[in-house]
């Protein structure tokens, strides 16, 4: 019996047709010209029953062999432990199946969760205000660039080459029709944004610099120095954070002069998800509130004086301002936002700090162990959070193949995006990796290099 989600019996359908005054459903489509009507059935497979459907997708899942491997892949999407509470609470139908909270009286659950999320993001980033999330970190970066240009009406954006390649590509797509230009900022031999290049790239048309910290190579940038240079030239400092667990330990961008912080919060309770859906976020200084894109929840009172929450400042948004809106964004990532909120409240003040510490120590252990092997070098050397780049005496592609034979995905090749570091690999170590996993990687790498 095919699956159907229709709730009408034949008798009810007949009664409804009678009420409408027609004999068949076909009559309802009489306004569609004959010439464009489809005169055949859609060419899609015949319906599957529920067990057939499940087994179909289980087979597809088995065609993925990723989970057979011990993986050290990061680069914008990070493996982290997800407490059971997150799935349990976030899968409640009351959270999964409502629309955007446009009717606040019957949406207080979603709205209060957004308000708490905004608060948590502000606390973590050290910024004044946060929106209710964006599609993902890359589109968030593009929105931040457009926002900066609206704030100071300048057109030249400086983009750190150490920013995630997908983020740089997304920025290029978004600005191409808006008269904005992007210039790429060099990377120093230490893997950081080249501050001299930044100084020389700045001129009176420069709207902002956008950089990532910890950057794509895992290296922690001198955020305060970058911001200081930008402000000296009346331009803005935009920081991207793709691994926000780092904010449990590192000085928040808000205390280092950053004007806009944006990034990816997948690390906060969202599975790897093959890269989506994930959770873009954005926070900024209070003075930029009218230029912040996306939905925002605010606190208010009802007619009885009881506290409640609403979507607010909607005069920025497309459904009110149409073509003059701050962004064309309509949806946010509410359910992913909810997961992050549950996750952060479960970890709490000490949990997030401990988690950040564990990540840093594990990555530190792995980095020391691996760079101690003959034929392995620490490419950048500077302080990192939970990712680092290694170089080898042998091409990475060959090493990666041998590691795969040992059941290990050792890291992401840098070559395709950074030809200047062809042969190097970006490795990520988190709390999901035990000491034994790291030791296994070291042994396999040693074998591959011997």
């Amino acid at each position: 019996m095919p699956m159907s989600y229709i709730s009408l019996s034949d008798k009810e359908k007949k009664a409804m047709l009678d009420a409408v005054g027609i004999a068949s459903v076909g009559e309802l489509f009489r306004s569609i010209p004959e010439g464009v009507r489809l005169d055949r059935a859609l060419s899609v497979p015949e319906p599957l029953s529920e067990p057939e459907l499940t087994s179909h997708f289980e087979k597809l899942a088995n065609h993925n062999r990723y989970s057979d491997f011990l993986s050290f892949l990061g680069g914008g999407i990070y493996p982290h432990f997800i407490p059971a509470l997150v799935d349990y609470l976030a899968s409640r139908g009351e959270f999964v199946s409502p629309y955007t909270p446009y009717q606040p009286e019957v949406s207080q659950g979603t709205l209060q969760a957004i308000f708490e999320f905004q608060t948590l993001i502000c606390q973590l980033t050290g910024m004044d205000i946060s929106n209710a999330s964006l599609y993902d970190g890359a589109s968030g970066a593009a929105e931040a660039v457009l926002m900066a240009s609206r704030i100071n009406r300048k057109t030249k954006i400086l983009v750190a080459r150490s920013l995630h390649p997908h983020y740089r590509q997304t920025i290029a797509t978004y600005i191409r029709n808006l008269g904005l230009t992007a210039r790429e900022m060099k990377v120093t031999p230490a893997g950081t944004l080249d501050l001299e290049d930044l100084e020389s790239g700045l001129d009176e048309d420069t709207t902002a610099v956008i950089f990532q910290s910890p950057n794509y190579f895992g290296v922690i940038e001198d955020v305060a120095a970058i911001s200081e240079i930008m402000h000296r030239h009346q331009a803005l400092s935009i920081a991207v954070v793709t691994e926000p667990v780092s904010l449990g330990l590192l000085q928040p961008p808000g205390l280092q002069g950053v004007d806009i912080v944006t990034g990816e919060a997948q690390s906060f309770g969202i599975p790897l998800s093959f890269g989506g859906p994930v959770l873009g976020f954005m926070a900024c200084k209070n003075e930029f509130i009218r230029q912040l894109p996306g939905r925002i929840a605010g606190q208010t009172r009802d007619v009885d004086g009881k506290r409640g929450f609403v979507l607010t400042l909607s005069t920025r948004e497309q459904h009110i301002r149409r073509e003059r809106a701050t962004s064309n964004i309509c949806t946010n990532q509410a359910l992913c936002l909810l997961r992050a909120t549950i996750y952060l409240e479960t970890l709490g003040r000490n949990g997030l700090r401990s988690l950040a510490h564990i990540n840093m120590q594990k990555a530190g252990y792995a980095r020391q162990l691996l760079t101690g092997l003959e034929g392995v070098r620490d490419v950048f050397g500077g302080p990192v959070f939970n990712e680092f780049v290694l170089g080898f005496d042998r091409p990475w592609e060959e090493i990666a193949a041998e590691l795969r034979d040992a059941g290990i995905l050792g890291g992401l090749a840098l070559g395709p995006d950074y030809p200047e570091w062809a042969g190097c690999a970006l490795m990520c170590v988190t709390e999901t990796h035990g000491k034994d996993d790291i030791d296994r990687l070291a042994a396999a790498l040693k074998e591959a290099l011997s």
Partner: protein, 482 residues
């Protein structure tokens, strides 16, 4: 119901719900030494596990949702979200996969994306599909960027985009981000695009027309083929907003009407949950001539299996990281496979029947500005109730007291005081009748006791909220009391 405190107000030093793995490597304090560290995360909550559970369970109970009852938001397509699709999308073999894994280890996921692309092309009558856009508005943006890229290559991107006055608010905004100026095309007395108006405005400066069909009145644009012909004859392209595709599945296909590019909302037509405002997914389907410009990478099938082709010199580039909202596309594919050709067509048939049943049942109680036949939604207004001082907002808020979610309010703008109703195909006759009865009762109340409506809702967790002061004096985060 009592108000649930903010989590920050429940916080107490030393409490935790966190069970992290132990640090099993030797600690090296020196790696922290060179770093700018923070001392603390001021204000961050500290609560126990049961406090977290009760906090979110209580919050959940403050939400109305499709699992509780009818949610007739026009143009939002709040249909039932099948639970099996949730279960499938959480299979670890699909969900716990890193997007950076080598293609030969992710053949299952690439097959899913490729299959969905193929089915969406068939359903829309288009040639090629990109699943990268994260939501409808991003799909629109991509669609317009494709048009611009193709026109640029032809020599002139042109300057203007024509958009009917009944269009979604995202349309003008998306056109603007593509560098176009927007001109509005008026609707005629039948609630359709005025063909003469369009004919006059469709100059050599116009890059594209953005059209929604059926439009936001629920009216099918009967002149669609003439519209697309006029636009093509003058060298422009036709973008269709597919938000209302639920009315057309299996009945007719935008590709057969001359549409060049369309976006779909998987969270509308293809049943993936709205999640309280996302994640959505906004695939873009195009005619072959626009394929070279689609976002990179593209999934291609070779003899060895699926590959990701990044070598796309004409592509507009990426609009986000990785491959789109993959787990949303999994649910949409499961939906299509569970319904098959007959079940897909039934979506449109019953969605349109349910909507017309509501329209017929309420047309004496509520004013219908346009008499044209409607498909999946109908737009009433508060014109009859205005004489009692009652507005569409009061009607909407009073519906809450009847345990029904209000329809879309004050949209489309061409209907003053609009109440835009889309029941979808999944509602039972009992639920449709309950909604109709509530709307009729509210019309009686408007006459007899308008204050009851103006002070509604009365039975909700919070009553009418002061949105003006929320915007005037924004409080956007919790702050500790000083």
């Amino acid at each position: 119901m009592i108000a649930e405190p903010l989590i920050f107000e429940l916080s107490g030093v030393g409490k935790t719900a966190c069970k992290l793995p132990k640090l099993d490597v030797p600690v090296r304090e020196e790696i922290l030494e060179e770093l700018p560290l923070r001392e603390d995360i001021p204000g961050f909550p500290e609560v126990s596990e049961i406090e977290v559970v009760r906090h979110f369970t209580r919050l959940s109970q403050y939400n109305y949702c499709i699992d509780l009852g009818m949610y007739p938001l026009g143009s939002c397509t709040m249909k039932y979200n099948p639970k099996i699709n949730e279960k499938i999308a959480s299979l670890p073999g699909l969900a716990a996969v890193h997007p950076g894994a080598p293609p030969d280890l992710i053949q299952g996921n690439l097959a899913i994306l490729s299959m969905l692309e193929e089915f969406l092309a068939e359903i829309t009558g288009m040639d090629d599909v990109s699943l990268q856009p994260s939501a409808g508005a991003q799909g629109e943006l991509v669609g317009m960027m494709l048009i611009r890229a193709a026109l640029e290559e032809r020599g002139d991107p042109r300057r203007l985009v024509l958009i009917p006055d009944s269009a979604h608010g995202t349309n003008p905004s998306s056109a603007h981000i593509c560098g176009y100026r927007v001109q509005e095309v008026k609707s005629n007395a039948a609630g359709m695009v005025d063909l003469e108006d369009l004919d006059r405005m469709m100059t050599e400066e116009v890059a594209a027309v953005m059209i929604t069909n059926p439009n936001t009145l629920g009216v099918f644009e009967e002149d669609i083929c003439r519209i697309t012909k006029v636009v093509h004859d003058r060298g422009g392209m036709v973008y269709m907003d597919g938000a209302n595709m639920n009315a057309l599945v299996g009945i007719c296909r935008p590709g057969d009407m001359g549409v060049d590019v369309i976006h779909l909302n998987l969270h509308k037509t293809f049943s993936t949950p709205h999640g309280g405002g996302g994640p959505g997914s906004g695939p873009v389907a195009v005619k072959r001539m626009l394929e070279p410009y689609l976002p990179a990478p593209r999934i291609e099938k070779e003899s060895s299996g699926y590959v990701l082709n990044h070598d796309r010199p004409k592509s507009i580039g990426r609009v986000r990281a990785f491959y789109g909202n993959f787990l949303v596309t999994v649910k949409a594919l499961a939906y299509i496979l569970s319904l098959g050709p007959h079940g897909l067509k039934e979506i449109a048939e019953i969605a349109v029947l349910n909507s017309n049943y509501i329209r017929k049942s309420l047309e004496e109680d509520y004013h219908l500005k346009y008499a044209s036949p409607t498909l999946h939604e109908c737009v009433f207004s508060d014109k009859f109730q205005k004489q009692y001082g009652v507005s569409n907002i009061d009607i909407a808020k009073r519906l809450i007291d009847y345990d029904v979610h209000p329809p879309t309010m004050s949209f489309p703008l061409i209907v003053p005081g609009a109440l835009m109703i889309e029941p979808t195909e999944t509602e039972s006759k009992e639920d449709l009748d309950r909604f109709i009865d509530a709307m009729r009762a509210i019309n009686r109340e408007a006459r007899e006791n308008p204050d009851l409506l103006k002070s509604a809702p009365h039975n909700s967790n919070v009553r009418r909220l002061d949105e003006t002061s929320a915007a005037r004096n924004p409080i956007l985060r919790w702050q500790p009391e000083k």
